[in-house]
């Protein structure tokens, strides 16, 4: 019976953003289920559903224009409609004690229950019931209410609860949606567990269980009273929200198009080619590398076509180092997979256990404090003492079902089938920061929010394999014998680049020079923002106090798909996803279709995630980072508020009142004939939806030096 309600449950969760576990958080469009609807209508529904203003604010406009914005007297947030209420909220009032108790009991019960892993003997419904009945769990609700709800969790399923609601399916779906919107963090977590998780998570919660709990609470408090049936909120955009967005985009996107019309720096036949991730943080490094005339760079998805399950040294659980849309095709494991656990992890795990054991915690505080005192001072006053070893790029075992296909796919995807330089660097990226709850949001999203080094190392191993090269030669991809592939990893927090042992001295010197240039630029940026500028930017990354060890993808505005020769040397400010594409070598548009089908989708996800956190940081974002409170190994709450926090922290997007990220839609600028672009979109439904429904802004240029054209539902128009 509950299965019949599955469509209702899915429909009710459409405006809920899936909440990824923070140890592998991938940026995703919060409205990923609504991309078949027009952007303004979808955002309006989101705003009404959660009671937020989903459009850019005056401060964003002022920042885009380079003007100062003053908080005093400013109408920054036009009035928003309150979140539509659940049964109890409609009966007693949204701010009533009953409404507060209802929300608290739902969220706190979830918090307590999800700390216990489920098993064949113990379902999540049972752990929810246990949490309600456990007197040591503070749900801030009277005991009789807890007992009554616990009883319902034993006897009722969603179908039983739905049968109690005296409304039609449409109203019931709306009621479901309101209950999920009451605790959007837990709803997002449940949505991820139901729809995106590849394997059950120990803290898993289902949308069904959450709805049963939430509805049971309301039914018990309402005690037989019924409000009017809930009406779906209006989805017609009103107010000047869309107008504010257009004004902001007019300034921001025009700036990007102007940059793209600047002449590119010519290059000479390369001695070094560097294939880097399309991530915006790669752009400054690529530009710095290309200051040397015999270095060219290529932009490609950061997992380099190697959908790898990576098992690190001393680990048992692999990390899925590929976009969530794909399935694994390669196993990559550290060479010393059977090494006994290192001393460090043993000490740490011992300390973790001690802190929770009543018999030990007192003695631990006694003894450990005298040692941690000097450590405390050192880590705070001298962050550079914190050391992290270089990325491991040399000791991986690679097992692939079809290594030749993987290697060929990667090279063709990069457009690198001829003209190989003597050294070709496959450069993944990672970010190593300290005491950062959102550390994984800074890692490579294409690598499942993990480091890209293992993927690069795996591909390099395949490409340097003589047997693979021979097979590639037979398939028309002839790699010269003197070409050597080198793996690298770019730490975006410090701009330090690690290369594998095969890299030449010559290459290392060029890379070091490029890294230095990037660091200088980073220091200048911090100075402009009024932040302290430590002599070594590595210090910020290692400083556990710094809530902004790096900017991540904040500030991104566009994705450029086209030949690197047309943008080489143009300063794009580290704000553009750069995917290499040569229309001349792709006559039938196959490559362009593959770019639209995956990298474009991922870039739009990132854009939408940052957009949401920027416009509504307290509801769609994690809020103030200094208040965040880790829950297990998968989420954060804010202070003592028991709902999980989605999105990005405030400090990732703002410095005080100054926005670092301007919430605009992604500008997709394709350096290819318009007809080719339209054909490719026709064959990629997901990308087509994004363009047609206005989730991205599409521009195209027929040839270098030509004008840019903007796509709209009326066709192409001059930019």
């Amino acid at each position: 019976m509950t299965e019949l309600l599955a469509p209702l449950v899915r429909a009710s969760a459409r405006t809920i953003a899936p909440l990824w576990p923070l140890d592998r958080a991938v940026a995703i469009n919060p409205l990923v289920d609504l991309t078949d609807e027009d952007f303004p209508r979808a955002m309006t529904e989101l705003g009404h559903r959660l009671g937020v203003d989903p459009w850019p604010h005056e401060r964003h406009l002022a920042s885009a224009r380079g003007e100062r914005w003053s908080r005093r007297g400013a109408v920054d947030r036009p009035g928003t409609t309150p979140r539509p209420g659940t049964i109890v909220e409609r009966l007693r009032g949204a701010d009533s004690p009953a409404a507060r108790v209802a929300r608290e009991i739902v969220a706190r019960t979830c918090l307590a229950a999800c700390s216990t892993a489920t098993s064949a003997e113990r379902s999540r419904r049972a752990t929810l019931r246990d949490a309600l009945l456990d007197p040591s769990v503070d749900t801030r609700a009277p005991r009789p209410l807890r007992a009554a709800v616990a009883q319902r969790l034993v006897t009722d399923d969603l179908a039983t609860v739905r049968a109690l609601l005296p409304w039609d399916d449409r109203a019931v779906a709306e009621e479901f949606a309101r209950h999920l919107a009451r605790v959007p963090g837990w709803a997002g977590w449940a949505k991820w567990c139901d729809e995106w998780s590849h394997a059950p998570h120990p803290a898993a919660l289902s949308l069904t269980d959450l709805l049963v709990l939430s509805l049971s609470v309301d039914l018990e408090i309402a005690a037989g009273e019924w409000p009017n049936p809930p009406q779906p909120p209006s989805r017609s955009p009103h107010g000047d929200g869309p107008e504010r967005l257009h004004r902001l985009e007019h300034v921001v996107h025009d700036g990007v198009i102007d940059r793209l019309t600047l002449p590119a720096r010519p290059s000479s036949p390369p001695l070094v080619q560097v294939a880097a991730c399309i991530d915006v943080r790669s752009e400054p490094l690529r530009r710095a590398l290309e200051e040397e005339p015999d270095v060219t760079t290529i932009g490609f998805a950061g997992f380099f076509g190697v959908a790898a399950r990576v098992t690190g040294r001393g680990e048992d659980e692999p990390h899925e180092s590929f976009p969530p849309l794909l399935r694994p095709s390669v196993d990559v494991s550290a060479a010393e997979a059977t090494t006994p656990r290192a001393r460090g992890p043993l000490v740490r795990s011992t300390l973790v256990e001690l802190t929770h054991e009543p018999a030990s915690m007192f003695a631990l505080a006694e003894g450990a404090g005298w040692i941690t005192g000097p450590v405390l001072s050192a880590l705070t006053l001298l962050p550079s003492v914190r050391r992290r070893g270089p990325a491991n790029l040399d000791d991986w075992h690679v097992r692939a079902d079809d290594p030749v296909a993987i290697a060929e796919g990667a090279l063709r995807g990069m457009g690198l089938t001829t003209g190989f330089a003597p050294e070709v660097v496959i450069l993944g990226h990672s970010s190593h920061t300290s005491a950062n709850t959102h550390f994984s949001t800074l890692a490579c999203g294409a690598c499942g929010a993990g480091p890209g080094g293992p993927n690069a190392a795996a591909l390099v191993q395949l490409l340097n394999d003589p047997a693979v090269r021979a097979a590639l030669d037979a398939r028309g991809v002839a790699i010269p014998p003197n070409t050597r592939f080198v793996a690298g990893e770019h730490d975006t927090a410090t701009d330090h680049v690690t290369l594998d042992a095969m890299a030449s001295t010559h290459l290392r010197a060029r890379v070091d020079r490029a890294s230095d240039r990037c660091r200088r630029s980073r220091r200048d940026q911090r100075r402009r923002l009024g932040l302290a500028t430590p002599y070594r930017t590595a210090t910020s990354a290692r400083d556990w106090a710094d809530p902004r060890p790096e900017w991540g993808l904040a500030g991104h505005v566009a994705m450029v798909i086209g030949p690197r020769e047309r943008t080489r040397g143009v300063d794009l400010g580290g704000r553009v996803f750069l995917h290499s594409y040569d229309p001349a070598s792709d006559p039938d548009g196959t490559l362009l279709r593959s770019i639209f089908a995956a990298p474009l989708i991922v870039a739009q996800w990132i854009n939408a995630a940052y957009y949401a956190s920027a416009v509504a940081p307290d509801v769609l974002g994690a809020g103030d980072k200094t208040l965040l409170n880790p829950v297990g190994d998968f989420a954060v709450i804010r202070g003592s508020d028991p709902d999980l926090r989605p999105g990005l922290p405030l400090q990732s997007l703002y410095v005080g009142d100054v926005p670092i990220h301007l919430p605009t839609r992604l500008l997709v600028a394709v350096d290819a004939p318009r007809e080719r672009v339209v054909d490719a979109l026709s064959d990629t439904p997901a990308a087509r939806d994004l363009v047609v429904h206005g989730w991205v802004v599409l521009a195209a240029r027929e040839h270098e030096g030509g004008p840019w054209w903007r796509w709209s539902t009326d066709g192409w128009g001059a930019w």
Binding site: D23, L111, A112, A117, V137, A199, P200, P202, E315, D316, H319, P340, P345, L346, R348, T350, V352, E353, T355, H356, P358, A359, S360, M361, F362, A363, L364, A365, G369, W370, P374, L376, S377, L379, T380, L381, A435, N436, T437, F439, G530, A532, T533, D543, W544, A545, D546, R548, D624, T626, L627, N629, P630, V631, G632, D633, I637, G639, S640, G656
Partner: protein, 457 residues
């Protein structure tokens, strides 16, 4: 004294400097210099000065102030509220030091109340939406500081400012009233007995603010009671009340802590437990043990809060590593602990009761660690055992040294509890607390097996 004040003012004003890169050096330098001067301030007069006890607190607060002050400067960089939060954070530390340096009851009570006020103001500035925590701090001030001020207002006009260092100048009803007021203030400040105390609500505050409150404010009651004891021995009724409050809190919190899943919530509740332990030690007649615990706990808790941001990454990394298997059931673990305690008896023969109590607790902890990890290969477990024994042997020596250094300042009660009360209580707590399920281990095992199944499918 004027130079000291000037340095403190410089530290307080560092956050307002217009050049971001100069703020941290100015804060650190001025605060470090102030700490150095405070350490050598002579213990004369009725205002402030440094005796051995004050120096211990200054050292601990110095490390705390420098670390948390610098942390908070960076944490609030670029934010307008940083210009208030950072100076207030430093001010709270300075006031806590001033309390420790107080040379008379009058100075101590005034700096105590000023610390409470600064705490409330800091929370107001740092946590605009934290009305609940401010409300509870307000109640704590009312319940704890109110009677203290009242007692001071009544007694000081009668008996003078009550300078420390004399030989129990206070007697009769004044001693009883002052002891009672101090006991109440210490209990309230430490968050004991309250179902949801202000201490547990500090999770609503920014990380650096939580660190300074848990490390520098919550434990002020120990200093208060130790100083009161130098004026007049704490009456038995107050010692019993203190011990009762501590034990009730310990017993109530033991299962709750393990059930709490948010890290800061766990840390906050563990602070209340630690404070219970510390005040219990004072009630049992072991002030040096309480001070050693105060110092260790302050630094430990500050470190835990400031590093809380890394918890998710650390736990995820631990989960990916090899599953540790199932720990022994608690009954066998407790039997093992008892056996280790008996073994420990031979180590503590002839030691003072206080040191013996501490050793007993350390032996329990060591045994717990050893027993939990016996499934590792012998070499590693052996190394762990040697390390633990070194701690068990070395730490009590440290406490003994501390005892000698503070001997002239701290008054030990004429009656102290037998040494085995403390480890015995800890064993009871371990038995009575909810068994901490091997959640992490089950998590690792289930995740690994499920992923293996998926991989094979």
């Amino acid at each position: 004294m004027l130079i000291l004040l000037a340095l403190v003012v410089a530290a307080l004003g560092a956050a307002a400097l217009p050049w971001p890169s100069t703020r941290r050096p100015v804060l650190v330098a001025s605060l470090a210099a102030a700490i150095g001067l405070a350490l050598v301030a002579p213990a004369r007069g009725d205002l402030v000065g440094s005796d051995a006890l004050a120096r211990l607190i200054i050292l601990v607060a110095g490390v705390l102030g420098l670390s948390v002050g610098a942390f908070s400067l960076t944490q609030f960089a670029g934010e307008r509220r940083g210009r208030q939060v950072v100076p207030l954070t430093v001010a709270v530390v300075v006031l806590a030091v001033a309390s420790a340096m107080a040379r008379s009851w009058l100075t101590l009570s005034l700096t105590w109340v000023a610390t409470s006020g600064a705490t409330w103001w800091l929370l107001r500035v740092a946590t605009p939406s934290g009305s609940e925590v401010r409300r509870r701090v307000g109640w704590t001030i009312l319940v704890g500081d109110g009677p203290l001020l009242l007692a001071t207002a009544v007694i000081v006009p009668l008996d003078g400012p009550l300078p420390f260092g004399g030989s129990h100048p206070l007697t009769g009803p004044s001693a009883l009233v002052l002891g009672g007021a101090a006991t109440l203030a210490a209990i309230a400040r430490a968050g004991l007995l309250a179902r949801s105390s202000w201490v547990s609500e500090t999770v609503s505050a920014p990380t650096s603010v939580s660190a300074v409150l848990h490390a520098g404010v919550v434990n002020g009651g120990a200093i208060l009671l130790i100083r009161v004891a130098s004026l007049a021995p704490l009456a038995t009724v107050w010692r019993l009340a203190l011990a009762g409050a501590a034990i009730v809190t310990l017993v109530r919190l033991a299962p709750v802590i393990s059930r709490r899943v948010d890290l800061k919530g766990q840390l906050a509740l563990s602070t209340v437990s630690q404070m219970s332990f510390m005040l219990l030690a004072i009630a049992l007649g072991w002030p040096v043990l309480a001070l050693a615990h105060l110092a260790g706990h302050s630094l430990y808790k500050a470190h835990r809060f400031l590093s809380s941001g890394g918890a998710i990454e650390a736990r995820a990394a631990a989960r990916r590593r090899a599953a540790r298997g199932t720990p022994l059931p608690i009954t066998r673990r407790v039997l093992g602990l008892v056996a280790v305690v008996l073994l420990g008896l031979t180590l503590i023969h002839g030691a003072s009761a206080e040191t013996a109590a501490l050793t007993g607790v350390l032996v329990l902890a060591a045994g717990n660690v050893w027993w939990t990890h016996t499934r590792h290969p012998f070499g590693r477990a052996g190394g762990l055992l040697i390390g633990l024994l070194a701690v068990v042997a070395g730490y009590p020596l440290l406490v003994d040294r501390l005892s000698r250094a503070l001997g002239g300042v701290i008054s030990t009660p004429s009656t102290t509890a037998p040494w085995w009360w403390l480890p015995g209580l800890v064993i009871l707590l371990a038995l009575g607390s909810r068994h901490r399920t091997s959640r992490d281990t089950v998590v690792a095992t289930d995740t690994a097996s499920e992923i293996a199944e998926y991989a094979a499918s």
